[in-house]
């Protein structure tokens, strides 16, 4: 378990090493894989699994900065709208004659700006909680997308653009490689830098952090901006996958993302969680959906199962704390 007090280096203890949330996730992931392989003969097949990652990795990019945001003790529910707005502006500007490369850069810029606005609003109006601020911007961003495109679609992208969502490097999907790179970057940032340590500090106690000279506001703005940027990245991959875009793309992504973060062992109270856990939970939920999709479980039942899994996860995490106490492990 993650500790509340911040020590520079914890001594290694085998017992406490295995009493970790991440191991529970690994266990569930293994169980899911065994169940999936037993219920469908098509499941255990390398190229099928690789293709399956393509279907759920588009939203995974947002999970990484979202983990930071929830560790801070905040939340951002405007990410899906940011995806829609970036995607729509990219498509419209390309159709208006901008070269595709420029349009893609513009997409990332739009995402980044959306995130920056969120961050600035949150630090400017401290009396408003992040959920209220991002609730407003969520409506505004998607609203702008609707104003631009109304109810129409835009697309007709060049052929090479579809490589992002559908391309392979050897037999590994391109999107998987890009995601792995980002996951490593965010993981190192959170666990190996003073920046990351400060994020935990803010999540544990923002007031004390502020008095200790941590630049709370600056860090918050940076992280929300990063969330916007990653929404732009998601917009690129999602749009490439679909080949056209509408103002209502990515509906409900924010909830999927938050579910993945919470299942990944990040505490919504702030100050606790790890990138590795969220990465495992992305694959856990994604492969669960894929496996059940292979035996054609109706989509409503699928939602219920994922809901149950979340409840189960939160419950077990509570048990886990008690177990650690029962096991008399030093905390």
């Amino acid at each position: 378990m993650e500790q509340r007090n911040i020590i520079a280096k914890r001594e290694f203890n085998l017992k406490s090493f295995f009493f970790q949330w991440e191991w529970m996730l690994v266990l569930i992931l293994i169980v899911i894989n065994i169940v999936n392989s037993s219920i469908s003969s098509h499941y255990l097949n390398f190229s099928g699994l690789m293709d399956a990652t393509m279907t759920f990795l588009d939203k995974a990019f947002i999970v990484l900065p979202m983990a930071f945001i929830i560790i801070l003790g905040d939340i951002d529910i405007s990410v899906a709208s940011t995806v829609a707005l970036s995607s729509v502006i990219m498509a419209v500007s390309y159709n208006a004659g901008l070269p595709m490369g420029m349009a893609m850069v513009l997409c990332l810029i739009v995402g980044t700006v959306c995130g920056l606005i969120n961050g600035l609003l949150i630090v400017k109006f401290k009396e408003l909680s992040a959920v209220i601020v991002t609730l407003s911007t969520m409506t505004i961003y998607r609203g702008i997308a609707y104003i631009i495109l109304e109810d129409q679609a835009a697309g007709k992208f060049p052929q090479w653009f579809s490589y992002l969502g559908w391309g392979y490097v050897g037999s590994i999907p391109f999107i998987l490689i890009v995601f792995a790179v980002f996951a490593v970057i965010f993981g190192l940032l959170l666990h190996k830098t003073t920046f990351g340590r400060r994020v935990y500090a803010i999540g544990n106690n923002p007031v004390a952090s502020r008095f200790s000279g941590v630049e709370v506001d600056k860090i918050k703005v940076i992280i929300f901006t990063a969330a916007g940027f990653m929404s732009g990245v998601t917009a690129l991959f999602l749009t490439s996958k679909m080949g056209s875009t509408r103002p209502n793309v990515a509906i409900g992504y924010e909830l999927d993302v938050i579910a993945m973060v919470v299942l990944g062992g990040v505490s919504t109270a702030g100050g606790k969680g790890r990138i590795i856990g969220t990465v495992i939970s992305i694959f856990l939920i994604g492969l669960l959906r894929y496996g059940l999709g292979l035996i054609n479980v109706p989509s409503q039942v699928l939602l219920i199962i994922i809901g149950l899994l979340l409840v189960f996860a939160v419950m077990i995490s509570d048990l886990n704390v008690n177990t650690v106490k029962a096991g008399k492990i030093k905390r």
Binding site: W23, L27, D51, G165, M242, S244, I295, N296
Partner: protein, 367 residues
Amino acid sequence: MKKVLALIISLALVMSLLVGCGGGGTEDVSEPEETPEVEDASKTDDEPEPEEEPDSGEGKQYAIIVKSTGNPFMEKMADGFKEAVSELGGETIVKAPDQPTAEAQIQMIEELIAQKVDGIAISANDPDALQPALQKAMNDGINVVSLDSAVNAESRTTHIQQADPERIGRVQVQAIHEMIDGEGEIAILSATSQATNQNEWIEWMKEELEDPKYENIELVKIAYGDDLRDKSVSETEGLLQSYPNLKGIISPTTVGIAAAAKVLTDKGLEGKVQLTGLGLPSEMAEYIENGVCQWMYLWNPIDLGYLAGCAIDALAKGEISGEAGDTFSAGRLGDREVVEVGDGTEIMLGDPFKFDIDNIGEWKDVY
């Protein structure tokens, strides 16, 4: 209590390690609490479990992907598809996304490619966005037909056309013209803005409205209810608020027309605002009987699905290739021909059928 839990969880962890070292092999894991859940969930599945590996040439597997769950028209269509496929000795997989989006359908296509089905019939939520996924399916040797709502010609072998889109579009405008005595404001309540079929009909409606005899009719707005009942209701209410002089509503979608009829009935606007469009007789019977909707049109969704089932089977068995001029036997519907339309090919079901107070009684129990 806590000690017991501690024990259970440490056991579980040890098991997980064993399994992990075994390379995720075949050991029995006795612990996982959520395994029964998963299995129960798959048992609540209404559809028959598809056979793992069809061992004879007969047992082909065909999937139908509809626009979204909770749409009675789509359910009837899937029933017809299932009927045809079982007559021909195949297996049916029905997939319905919980949101009417292209993203959800792409994921389902991926799952079907992995299952190596023999054919996919799809009612598309977007004509172009499914192209990469469907082309991947076709490259893997899966036959693809669209029905009801088409995908573009590059993403399919052929399309099952319910009725001539021009007729469907024009006939609805003629109906509303007659109902409102040729003058006033009208609005259209459609499904999603990307629905291929609805958009095509709306184009023909606009075309029909160009005719000088409609010079006193003004189309004020096209609203989109996304084939979701609650959104269709609020869009209808929005139309009535924004256009107090509205005389008529055309809703070329079964979810939309039923929602609009409910709103008009609840607000007591029967006779003040006229309604026509495409509706399911079973859903619309009470509104035709109470006069909110004098008459409407549709074709038989069961037959539409049935025709798609026959067509995909003929394609999978190599009887036809989807080229214009091919003919095949569509079971109880008789022989059908593949015809060239635009830059693709289509198979036609028939003409739209008119439902009014005189014949709704006999149809409301059929579909």
